[in-house]
């Protein structure tokens, strides 16, 4: 069991010792069931920290802000940032290390185990509760969740309300950490790509119909991009300014900028955006599933990333986020990579 007190104790100690600048964790919010990110500087505030199945966010996203802030400061505080991570988030740290976006000394990783289960899918829970309102969700003792509602506690098997990505997760515990709270539990996942089968088994025209319908819904709020800890480019092809303009950028350079896609949220342009997003995350997506959770129109964007994760595994035997010292998927190759598709 993850002992929350243990997490608080550890957090408070590293803050008191001045080992870290601040700690990024989870705290209760004012709205609904989900927590909000907490940025804790004062050891007294560690009491706010929470850890339960509602902690869905991938906090490693905020390492981007930290890095941007640091590059602007004249005399940056070189101490690491404390960060609470679960299994999938820790793999994000590995990828960021692998890409040298951060250095190992930039983070002090407070790893928490997912208790052999994972995090909650709010929508699944809402359906399960049929109108009743959950006030609190906690890890139970037997791979279940204890849900506090207005009429008392209910126990639900975690499998029934787990986020889709957790059902397919290969490691429910942090793979990189400075402190580990909880245990490294092992659960056998027979097929980590099971959820893909439904779409993959469709005939091509049906598949096209499915994706067109989904991608057409996109309003290009870019939440899937914004919430992704791997989407850290300073410039994005999807923005109307798709290169960084500085006072030195000449008029010619500006005139020659290429407009890769229009701002109009129509199928063809949305596809370019979603393709670029998916391919850019090939071999980098650690399947935290945040892109899909935040989509206001419920577009299953995770299935694009998941597909490429599967192909990376099957074609190139590449696992994402387990080894920060390994070269990345697209910056490496093997002599015998498949080439049966090449003429």
């Amino acid at each position: 069991m993850v002992n929350l007190e243990e997490l608080k104790k550890e957090a408070s100690q590293i803050l008191k010792e001045g080992k870290v600048k601040y700690i990024i964790g989870f705290q209760r919010g004012s709205n609904g069931l989900l927590p909000v990110p907490a940025f804790i500087k004062n050891p007294k505030d560690v009491e706010k920290l929470v850890w339960d199945p509602t902690c869905v966010y991938n906090l490693t996203l905020f390492l981007q802000d930290e890095k941007r802030k640091k590059t602007k400061e004249k005399e940056p505080d070189e101490r690491p940032v404390g960060i609470v991570v679960k299994g999938c988030d820790s793999r994000a740290i590995n990828v960021l290390l692998q890409e040298e976006f951060i250095k190992r000394d930039d983070v002090y990783v407070l790893g928490v185990s997912c208790e052999n289960t994972g995090v909650l899918d709010e929508k699944k829970l809402a359906k399960k509760l049929k109108g009743k309102k959950a006030k609190k969700v906690e890890f139970g003792a037997n791979d279940d969740f204890v849900i506090t509602t207005e009429d008392g506690n209910i126990k639900i098997a975690a499998q029934e309300v787990l986020a889709e990505r957790c059902l397919e997760c290969k490691a429910h515990f942090p793979v990189i950490y400075d402190v580990l709270i909880g245990e490294k539990t092992k659960r056998n996942v027979e097929n980590p790509f099971k959820s893909l089968e439904k779409i993959e088994s469709l005939p091509p025209e049906e598949r096209w119909k499915f994706w067109k319908e989904q991608i057409e819904k996109c309003i290009r709020c870019y939440a899937c991009r914004s919430v992704c800890p791997m989407c850290y480019c300073d410039e994005c092809v999807a923005d109307t300014i798709n290169f960084v303009v500085t006072p030195d950028t000449s008029a010619e350079e500006k005139a020659q900028k290429i407009k890769w896609l229009e701002k109009s949220p129509v199928s063809s342009e949305n596809f370019v955006y979603h393709f670029v997003r998916a391919i850019h995350l090939a071999g980098r997506c650690i399947d935290c599933g945040e892109c899909e959770r935040v989509c206001p129109l419920d577009i299953p964007v995770r299935f694009l990333n998941k597909k490429l994760e599967k192909e990376a595994k099957e074609l190139f035997d590449y696992d994402v986020g387990f080894d920060p010292d390994k070269p990345s998927l697209v910056s490496s190759f093997k002599d015998d990579d498949p080439e049966d598709f090449i003429r």
Binding site: K212, L261, E269, L315, V330, S332, R343
Partner: protein, 140 residues
Amino acid sequence: MAEEFEPKIVAFLCKWCSSAGSDLAGVSRMQYPPNVIPITVMCSGSVSPLYIFSAFNKGADGVLVSGCHPGDCHYIKGNFYARRRIALVKKLLEYVGLEPERFQMSWISAAEGVKYTKVIKDFVQELKPLGPQKKLRRTQ
């Protein structure tokens, strides 16, 4: 009789092999269909997936990426990187339901003018029955 559909192919050819191969086909006066818009790039490894998506977006019926044979890359390993990347792009495009025939990759050396004409001929023949590519094309 209705006019036969002539597919438009955007071909990204590496400067050192495939582009030279296409030149050889040209100077040797080999006949091949005029459906290709060749774009010379420095290396097949320099073809960003974005170029491919963009070509389809702007109305290409087919896209070809062609580079040196493995081991012959002017930059030693550019085509190996391309091989991986293109495999992923191909899988992605097929996954959303684009016809697999529309996106091809080939190895064509500077000496293979004949192979170049064959690749293009085959490509055009495969694209003709599919008709115009409307799925990813800018629709308005």
